[in-house]
């Protein structure tokens, strides 16, 4: 059961993202704040830290490709960024303490990096014209707050499931 849970959670999060996207942008006193749900990549970073780097990168590639084709019609953007973030996370995770708090902070930093990369990309191809200040105020900070809430709520659950799966696999290998 727990074997399939890893992939089931990724599929669920993949489908939940656009639904939370429907609630954004939020209007507060005449300003629009964009909250971008980044649930899937946060989960995949957890997978690469606590379970298996290769598995995380493979999922990142597949879901990134689906994301590219279904939502943004630029193939190769998310399917590159997602595996890259998983790789970076696992490389950093070797040198740090694998405490939940550390993993959470690392995840948030990487999500901010994803946002920044996308901002640079979209400015580069000229789809969006936005200054850095606007980007920080209306996109990055609200997005980080929303994702912080999500990872605080579910981070421990992810860690619990992934570590259990990791132990289960280690036991199987011993036999």
């Amino acid at each position: 059961m727990i074997r399939f849970l890893v992939i089931i959670i990724s599929v669920l999060l993949f489908y939940m993202e656009p639904i939370f996207g429907l609630f954004s942008p939020i209007e507060l006193q005449g300003d629009f704040y964009v909250l971008v749900p980044r649930f899937l990549i946060m989960y995949l970073i957890f997978v690469s830290i606590y379970y298996d780097r290769k598995r995380a990168m493979l999922y990142g590639l597949i879901f990134g490709l689906l994301y590219d084709v279904f939502f943004i019609d630029i193939i190769g953007l998310y399917s590159f960024i997602y595996p890259l973030m998983c790789l970076v996370a696992s490389l950093i995770a070797k040198y740090i303490h694998q405490h939940l708090l550390v993993a959470t902070i690392l995840t948030l930093v990487l999500v901010a990096l994803v946002e920044l990369l996308l901002f640079l990309f979209y400015t580069f191809i000229g789809i969006k014209s936005m200054t850095y200040t606007e980007f920080f105020q209306f996109n990055l900070i609200p997005t980080m707050i929303a994702n912080l809430v999500f990872i605080l709520m579910f981070g421990w659950g992810f860690k619990y499931i992934l570590l259990n799966r990791f132990k289960q696999k280690a036991l199987l290998l011993q036999k």
Partner: protein, 300 residues
């Protein structure tokens, strides 16, 4: 520190990056057509997506109902005040409609720019990284949706279809930053004043209506609708209300800011309008104007 860039990995990485850049530039070049595998992926993902979004919309619908229930008393008072006006207006409209029909019969002109076949549709997803203003709806080619059709809510125009697959379609909203996104519009008060919606002011959250002839007077508060002369959209769909009038950069034509009638932030049910008169390649959307022998003078 271990060496994670051995020669083999380095070559793999370089090949990967070249492949990636090629792929991105390939898909950027031709974004308005989906190849067969892309269509297949879109349909499959869209099918799964509608399983998730429909229950959510039911739940948000219940919340909205509760909210409107709380406002019922106030609303009822206001509506009652307007009801009398409404009755006389309705009678007027009926009268005019009948007259219109009779006159059309006399001159033998059955087709009408206003007429369109509505296709009801549900929004199943909004592009979660909101860099581009796109939504995905659950009706596609099978249901008769075609590229460039106008999409609206009950409040007004919100965008147009830019991509279709058999079971889903992608809609680009009016609030896009795409410079090629134009809508031929008209301010119809006592006389008709034509202009083109070109661009969206991100700070003001308002559309920009350009190329208004400076001989005409445009006032704040006037309603802007689609003119039907752009080749794609039917006539008479409400776009918004004029909020400010200035002259454009060259001082030759007027420029008006238009506050959109429809809200772009929370969308669930939309209507796709299939124009009854056959569409031509005019000024709406990012068309090439090739069907117009006399192109609108390029103001900028």
């Amino acid at each position: 520190m271990p060496q994670f860039f051995s020669n083999k990995r380095l070559i793999l990485l370089l090949v990967g990056i070249i492949f990636l850049v090629a792929l991105i530039s390939f898909s950027l070049r031709d974004r308005n057509h989906a190849s067969v595998p892309e269509q297949l992926i879109k349909d499959v993902v869209g099918f799964g997506q509608s399983f998730f979004s429909k229950p959510t919309q039911y739940v948000t619908g219940v919340f909205n109902n509760v909210e409107s229930l709380l406002n019922t008393y106030d609303e009822n008072k206001r509506l009652k005040a307007r009801l009398e006006d409404y009755a006389s207006l309705q009678a007027n409209v009926n009268d005019l409609e009948i007259e219109n029909k009779e006159l059309r019969k006399i001159v033998d002109k059955e087709e009408n720019l206003r007429a369109f076949n509505p296709i009801q549709s549900t929004v199943i997803a909004r592009n979660p990284d909101q860099w581009e203003e796109k939504i995905i709806i659950d009706k596609g080619e099978i249901h008769g949706v075609e590229v460039n059709m106008a999409v609206m809510t009950s409040q007004g125009l919100i965008g147009k279809v830019i991509l279709t697959t058999p079971y889903t379609s992608t809609v680009e909203l009016l609030s896009t930053q795409n410079p090629n996104y134009r809508v031929s519009a008209v301010i119809a008060d006592k006389e008709e004043v034509f202009g083109l919606i070109e661009g969206y002011d991100e700070q003001r959250k308002e559309l920009i209506l350009k190329r208004i002839d400076s001989d005409f007077e445009v006032k704040k508060g006037q309603k802007v609708t689609t003119s039907g002369l752009g080749g794609i959209f039917p006539k008479g769909i409400l776009i918004g209300e004029v909020s400010e009038v200035t002259t454009d950069d060259h001082g030759l034509t007027k420029l008006a800011y238009v506050k959109p009638a429809a809200s772009f932030s929370i969308l669930d049910h939309v209507i796709i309008s299939k124009r009854s008169i056959s569409p031509i390649d005019g000024t709406d959307g990012n068309n090439t104007e090739s069907d117009l022998t006399e192109g609108a003078g390029d103001g900028s």
